[in-house]
């Protein structure tokens, strides 16, 4: 295993030390609970936004803490949901009297731990709502399964809902907005290589030189199917087709598009992929109103990428364009 770490067990706590050293001017770290906060007290009347999940997806979620996005991010162990204590502490700390929204990616562990935290926070008198993001079209959704995973749409949702929260929108309207965004967000990913979990010390799955995994999540889970290694053009098609096929799209529909790297794929390839994705969307008559290209929700050192589309109306585009000031997304 080749990683710039010390002991595998210390990866999360030591990365938090680095994040604090780098961003102490804007972020505050609760090292005991492994929570990343914006500096300063909660703003009265503003709904607090708390997200979190396993570590290994950076910049998600800690990189999205700041004005216009999250108030707190809870960091679990690598690829392991944080525990209720963490979300409970974060929820209490960011509550400015207007309640707290939990942004949860749909993974059994995350959902159950956030659920327990929400129950406990409610016992303490904090109003909590939860949005569970489940946008991954690689997974068949059904009442009898754990449902779709939550992946790329989470990034866009944190930005959009963050902007609305900043503008003072109340808790129930934020939940409504978040629900709407989740309902128009879809993602699909592929891996060229497995990632290596530090504690495991070797790749989670083996992949032949001429193979890739299609329909991966963000935890190094094997994908939905193993397919022959494809060109960027073919890979783009394999990602875009199921994403487009899963929602009704009409000509002229606008989207916010993200081509996201899984952590081990360089920007050069992501831009090349974005060119392919953009072409396919144009061919489908879809207007890319805004886009992100880069590493935004990763899977440790995995090589690969994912495509996320969120159908966007004027309201969502205005929220997208609103100022954001976090370590990983910053504009004004």
């Amino acid at each position: 295993m080749k990683k710039l770490i010390n002991e595998p067990a210390d990866v999360v706590s030591q990365a938090l030390i680095g994040i604090e050293a780098a961003h102490g001017d804007r972020l505050r770290i609760d090292h005991e609970h492994k929570v990343i906060y914006r500096n300063g007290p909660p703003r009265a009347g503003k709904v607090g936004l708390v997200s979190g999940g396993g570590t290994g997806h950076e910049p998600l979620h800690g990189g999205y803490v700041g004005v216009g996005m999250l108030d707190a991010a809870c960091c679990g162990e690598v690829f392991t949901s944080p525990v209720p204590d963490q979300m409970l502490a974060a929820t209490a700390a960011v509550d400015g009297g207007a309640g707290v929204l939990h942004i949860v990616k749909n993974y059994t562990g995350d959902v159950m731990n956030f659920e327990m935290a929400a129950e406990l926070a409610a016992d303490n008198g904090t109003e909590v709502r939860s949005i569970v993001v489940d946008d991954d079209v690689a997974v068949q959704d059904s009442l009898y399964t754990a449902g779709r995973r939550g992946v790329g749409t989470t990034v866009l949702l944190e930005k959009l809902v963050g902007a609305a929260a900043e503008s003072g929108r109340p808790l129930d309207q934020l939940l409504e907005l978040a629900t709407r965004i989740n309902s128009v967000g879809r993602s699909m990913g592929l891996a060229l290589t497995s990632c290596t979990v530090p504690a495991a010390g070797r790749p989670t799955f083996e992949l032949g030189d001429d193979e890739m995994e299609l329909g991966i999540g963000i935890h190094g889970e094997p994908g939905r199917s193993r397919v022959p290694l494809a060109s960027a053009a073919e890979a783009a098609q394999l990602l875009v087709d199921p994403v487009l096929g899963d929602l009704p799209y009409g000509t002229g529909d606008a989207v916010i598009a993200m081509v996201n790297g899984m952590g081990g794929t360089p920007l050069l390839e992501l831009y090349l992929m974005y060119g392919e994705v953009h072409r396919l969307l144009q061919q489908a008559g879809i207007h890319v109103a805004r886009c992100l290209v880069g590493n935004y929700i990763t899977s440790l050192d995995m090589a690969g990428c994912s495509v996320t589309l969120v159908k966007a109306d004027e309201e969502l585009l205005a929220l997208w364009d609103a100022p954001v000031d976090t370590p990983a997304l910053r504009w004004s």
Binding site: G76, E77, V78, F79, T80, P84, D85, N113, G217, R224
Partner: protein, 210 residues
């Protein structure tokens, strides 16, 4: 004489489970690599190490107090799916026990309460390829063998748990992370069912007088 379990035996059970988890951590993570995210062993090991430390640090006045601590410790140290599930199990299990020692009937009732908690939290049924596939036949076998005494009931439960674990191996997962694999999850042994078998085997080895 109706045999009953006191707090020392419960403690021995938990220590035995912590030991078994530690010993099998790599194997559990390996199973989780195939159909999950390669952390079940380290998750459980982290949690049970914390539980063992709590046992070292504190004296517990009663079984409910002991298991409340165990459940809270697992909930606050494991994370993932198994933290809330095992945590809820022990919280409910302990909550169903009385202050005094537990006989075979009381233990059975506590097991049922614990399992109900797992099902409520995780909403899995038998056949979904989760730890529930080990738990359900185990408690069923326990109930059926209860008349033969505690040792026999626990032994029957451990054997049934192992069979349940194995019966889930050919199945397609419908809950938990393995469900994302669809058909590809078939043929792999479920890590959570495997750790559940370790828990019940530890119970069989420690709770009844030898």
């Amino acid at each position: 004489m109706t045999e009953s379990v006191d707090i020392d035996r419960f403690t021995a059970w938990l220590r035995a489970f912590a030991g078994a988890i530690h010993e099998h951590a790599a194997e559990l993570t390996e199973l989780d690599s195939a159909i999950g995210d390669a952390d079940h062993g380290s998750n459980m090991d982290r949690g049970m190490t914390a539980v063992a430390a709590a046992l070292d640090a504190d004296e517990f006045a009663s079984a409910p107090a002991l298991f409340k601590k165990v459940g809270m410790t697992l909930v606050s140290s494991v994370g993932g799916a198994s933290g809330p599930l095992y945590g809820t199990f022990f919280l409910r299990f302990g909550g169903a026990l009385g202050e005094g020692d537990a006989d075979v009937t009381a233990l059975g009732a506590a097991l049922h309460a614990g399992i109900d908690g797992i099902v409520q939290r995780g909403k899995a049924e038998v056949g979904d390829k989760t730890m529930v596939d080990a738990w359900m036949p185990a408690v069923q076998a326990y109930d059926d063998a209860r008349g033969d005494g505690l040792a026999a009931a626990l032994r029957a439960a451990a054997e049934a748990a192992a069979r349940g674990r194995d019966s889930a191996t050919p199945l397609v997962a419908h809950k938990g992370r393995a469900s994302y694999l669809g058909e590809r999850s078939a043929g792999h042994q479920d890590p959570g069912a495997t750790s559940t078998v370790l828990l019940i085997e530890s119970a069989a080895a420690t709770l009844a007088a030898s």
